[in-house]
Point group: C2
Amino acid sequence: KKTFNIAVIAGDGIGKEVMPEGLRVLDAAAKRFGIALQYTHIEWASCDYYAAHGKMMPDDWKAQLSRMDAIYFGAIGWPDKVPDHISLWGSLLKFRREFDQYINLRPARLFEGVPCPLANRKAGDIDFMIVRENTEGEYTAVGGVMYEGTEREVVLQQAVFSRHGTDRVLKFAFDLARQRERKHVTVATKSNGIAVSMPWWDGRAAEIAAGFKDVTWDKQHIDALTARFVLQPQRFDVVVASNLFGDILSDLGPACTGTLGLAPSANLNPERKFPSLFEPVHGSAPDIYGRNIANPIGMIWSGALMLDFLDQSGTAGRQAHDAILAAIQQVLHDGPHTADLGGKASTTELGKAIAAAV
Amino acid sequence: KKTFNIAVIAGDGIGKEVMPEGLRVLDAAAKRFGIALQYTHIEWASCDYYAAHGKMMPDDWKAQLSRMDAIYFGAIGWPDKVPDHISLWGSLLKFRREFDQYINLRPARLFEGVPCPLANRKAGDIDFMIVRENTEGEYTAVGGVMYEGTEREVVLQQAVFSRHGTDRVLKFAFDLARQRERKHVTVATKSNGIAVSMPWWDGRAAEIAAGFKDVTWDKQHIDALTARFVLQPQRFDVVVASNLFGDILSDLGPACTGTLGLAPSANLNPERKFPSLFEPVHGSAPDIYGRNIANPIGMIWSGALMLDFLDQSGTAGRQAHDAILAAIQQVLHDGPHTADLGGKASTTELGKAIAAAV
Ligand SMILES: CC(C)[C@H](C(=O)O)[C@@H](O)C(=O)O
Ligand SMILES: CC(C)[C@H](C(=O)O)[C@@H](O)C(=O)O
């Protein structure tokens, strides 16, 4: 039986608080379904490491992580110690790129027991999947400052889209929609304003869509799309978006379902050439760190996605995933609840309750 | 007494339906407060004009519009006839740039009588102002396609930020906050992901903020910010953002207050060297055009902003603005309502009701 090697990177802030609960639930599920997990706890890739070493990671980070089957990741960032673009480009964004995790999968789903910030929505009304491009697009360090330090200062920021990178994420989204009941893809764009890349992106979408006759699709400008997330969230099935637009939609979508604390994500290299990475959508939240009140469900659900992805052979991974999700749903329904959902339970209590339910 | 020359551009789709109601209410307010308005109706700057002439506007458009005191603008775009980037870059986006309308002011406010899509929010809870940079940033036609038509195709899309353009919009926002009760500015950013322009933008914000000791401020990444619009909209006072982020936030903000149909905007050249432009936030909405059901309030409120901006000397402009806003509030409260607010009234009925209330 294969043992899966998992790199465990808690990172900064509440990443350190939610990670133990993620592991607690993973252990419970692994035990129940006979999955063998081997953890390697990694202390680098954190702002504390940066403070001590002047860099986010050791030089051989890639060799160390390449040996792993997956990376289980908390959150990184502590802007008072390290500017965000340095900590993130020095860790998470490097993983996504150098391990070619070009799909960032992020579900938005409204559960029973979670007060919805939208009026008159009940569990089941919101249930869609955001497929975010995760390696290129608007996220680049390409560009520079001209006439620096003068009144005439001009900053150029390059976005870079490749056909290779665009087609594969579009295809993934259409493929995913094909497996779902409603079989609909919404393509985020902004071709009326962003005049080079986005009209081209629309063209790629039309060409890929033509290969999926059984999937319906439409195209919406990102501004109108954010409005529709609030006004008609029941309309969405699969939403595919560029790196930046996907980033925005995958905070907004989960917010519309109650709290960012629930939202998981899977940063996938579908070919399994490199380890994939599983992390909650929320960040390190320095403002609430240290009080043990963070909601660990995003971390725990990310663990479920990891088990499902890792185990290709049999059914154990999928069963473990479903059991964890059922446990999450049970605890959301019956309590205990963390502060973001109006409860008083600690991070630890929630983790224990979900592990027990598994 | 000065007569204000107004260029009236209805544009496409529901722009043509809401414009007459905007003018109806403007006329009523102008009459009551003794403001002299002279309209010049312009048929170009529409997709129909494009269909006939192969361009959106005649070559002397700038000379024609430069003579005007303001542009009262409906909506442009009809993607089945003309791709959006052609129609918009050939009209609205040219006006914003060539007339240096570098401030796009967009209020988000929850009124009585408007069903809020957010749970448990009442009139008064949401009342903030979005200040959007309107001439540069992510909206450019700078860039190009390399290896065109091949598998290796790569698209470069340049964003361009100037210190001149950035500082002036930040200053405008801080100045505006200073005049408001809460005196707080939220600066939208994405410096953790967009690694050249956004860290630089943060630096400009810090420098400008240092000159406004009486104004508090914070900085939020655009992804988290969209989530907070839904989860804690009462927290915002003035939100300042780049062109793209401002575009997104100013659809999302009004959506959180019930409907895009209400939202107005003022594209300002504060120095009055060029005409400013006033338009609803909603677009041309081809899907509902022709049924006379569009909500004209965004158009009407934009007219109120126009009168307020035009009349610098006396108090008539401000009085007219306040009277129109009071009339809007009264009709939102007592009805009639258009379909977007669950009513059955036509665009025309709503315009007449508001004009009568003025
Ligand atoms: C039509 C489009 C180009 C425009 C924009 O993106 O600026 C619109 O969405 C707006 O907000 O005024
Ligand atoms: C931390 C940040 C760089 C990251 C992103 O923008 O991708 C985060 O917001 C996310 O969504 O995973």
